[in-house]
């Protein structure tokens, strides 16, 4: 394994983008950062600017207002970048499937590396998803 990949998978800085979620997913994301689960011991940090990010975490069904901004965020992020569709809404629009202001799921706007299903996903599921992404990046899966 080369040093570049090792450094990348050992320090994942996450940018959190919420486009029309019901806030349950966002609360679960904050749960992962609290002392009980402590994501910082794996080098995972929440950053404020997309320019610092290695992972783009998308929650919520994508609204009409949110879709162009999501695209812009993806374009303005420094590569390599991992995109994670978080929760049932972001993965497949969930219960908002027939809503008037939804557009399309995340993976029809930007390429998605991992899906974490659940409404909302439990913190254990989130950590499992992160582990799978890291293994995928290292070519172990």
């Amino acid at each position: 394994m080369n040093i570049k990949l090792k450094a990348l998978t050992k320090s994942i800085w996450v940018f959190h983008f919420a486009s029309g979620p019901c806030n349950n997913c966002d609360i679960e994301i904050l749960d992962v950062l609290t002392p009980r689960f402590d994501a910082e011991r794996f080098g995972i940090l929440l950053v404020g600017s997309i320019r610092h990010a290695d992972a783009l975490l998308v929650t919520g069904m994508i609204t009409r207002k949110g879709a162009p901004r999501l695209k812009e965020l993806y374009e303005s992020a420094p590569k390599p970048l991992v995109v994670i569709a978080f929760g049932s809404c972001a993965s497949s629009q969930g219960i908002f499937k027939d809503s008037y202001n939804r557009v399309v799921p995340v993976d029809e706007i930007i390429p998605v590396n991992a899906y974490i299903p659940g409404c909302p996903p439990r913190p254990e599921a989130i950590i499992d998803g992160v582990v799978k992404i890291v293994k995928r990046l290292r070519g172990e899966i």
Partner: protein, 322 residues
């Protein structure tokens, strides 16, 4: 023949200087210790919050990762200034570290006014943040840079006043070597009343110089994201972060030199010196973890009011001879 020997010694001297600046007290040493002390910061913070915290190589992984990321230059920004700004700060910190350590290793390798040079160079990293923030053409970055500027105006006056106390006590010599020699002969400056007052002022100003809580107003994450750093990505961001982590090493060392007698390199004294640095680091981290961010106007009122008064009292006491 004589000329040739003179040339080789000149070249050797240059090589030794290069080693000083790049490897031992200079860049490499400061960077490694800075990254490690930032790890201490993160680990202690985690323990205070009842977490486990990152492993010791976490900051090295962060830095290497940032080196391999893409560098994005925002449209409409001034490209050269944007990319050069991090380098200014890094070189200034490297020079300060080299000066301080050379003075500590050999008290005679000092020159008149190196006290002024060090204080001047310690402002450059903040200046580079301002330059980079304004060059990146982002409203939040400009806001952060203007806050940083106000913060510099706030803390610089009490900081210089506090650093004047050791100079007055050691007989008006603007030399770091003279201050160290004075402390070796007459006991450390922290042992006198004016020294204690000036040291407290110095710690408060150090917190603001490092832009840590409660004075992390320029990069307030909750209101202006990352402030001046918002448009930086990849290697320039890595250099900015490295500069901040090196400052976390260099500033406590500077306070150690002028107030606590520096680090002496003879036998067990070196452990005592390291203990001084670690104690200062823990004080910084505890202040960081037990306070909340204040507004910029509160910070200016705090520094120009009580802190400056305290520093002036310290100077008067030093002039009286206490």
């Amino acid at each position: 023949m004589v000329e040739a020997i003179g040339n080789t010694t000149k070249i050797e001297n240059k090589m030794i200087n290069l080693v000083y600046y790049i490897i031992f007290p200079g860049f490499l040493f400061t960077a490694v210790v800075g990254l490690l002390s930032y790890w201490v910061d993160r680990k202690v913070t985690a323990r205070v919050q009842w977490r486990v915290g990152p492993p010791w190589w976490q900051n090295f992984a962060d830095f290497v990762k940032l080196l391999y990321k893409e560098t994005i230059i925002p449209k409409g920004s001034s490209k050269i200034t944007f990319l050069l700004a991090p380098i200014f700060g890094l070189s200034a910190v490297t020079i300060v570290s080299t000066l301080l350590w050379r003075t500590m290793i050999d008290n005679n390798s000092t020159f008149i006014g190196d006290w002024i040079v060090v204080i001047y160079l310690l402002t450059i990293p903040s200046m580079s943040v301002i330059i980079g923030g304004f060059a990146s053409k982002n409203p939040l970055a400009s806001l952060g840079a203007s806050r940083e500027m106000k913060l510099i105006l706030a803390y610089e006056l009490p900081f210089i006043l506090a650093c004047l106390v050791p100079v007055i006590q050691s007989g008006g010599a603007l030399k770091l070597g003279e201050i160290l020699k004075y402390q070796m002969n007459n006991g450390i400056i922290f042992g006198s009343l004016s020294g204690i007052i000036a040291f407290i002022v110095g710690i408060l100003c150090m917190q603001a110089k490092l832009t840590l809580v409660p004075f992390d107003i320029p990069e307030a994450e909750q209101e202006i994201m990352a402030g001046p750093y918002i448009e930086y990505s990849g290697p320039p961001l890595g250099i900015f972060k490295l500069t901040r982590q090196m400052m976390l090493f260099v500033l406590p060392i500077f306070l150690t030199v002028i107030f606590l007698g520096g680090i002496t390199f003879s036998g067990w004294h070196i452990l005592w010196g390291i203990l001084k640095y670690v104690a200062l680091l823990v004080i910084i981290i505890l202040i960081k973890n037990t306070n909340v961010r204040i507004r910029i106007d509160q910070a200016i009122r705090f520094f120009w009011g009580p802190v400056t008064c305290l520093a002036i009292i310290g100077i008067i006491l030093a002039l009286v001879g206490l």
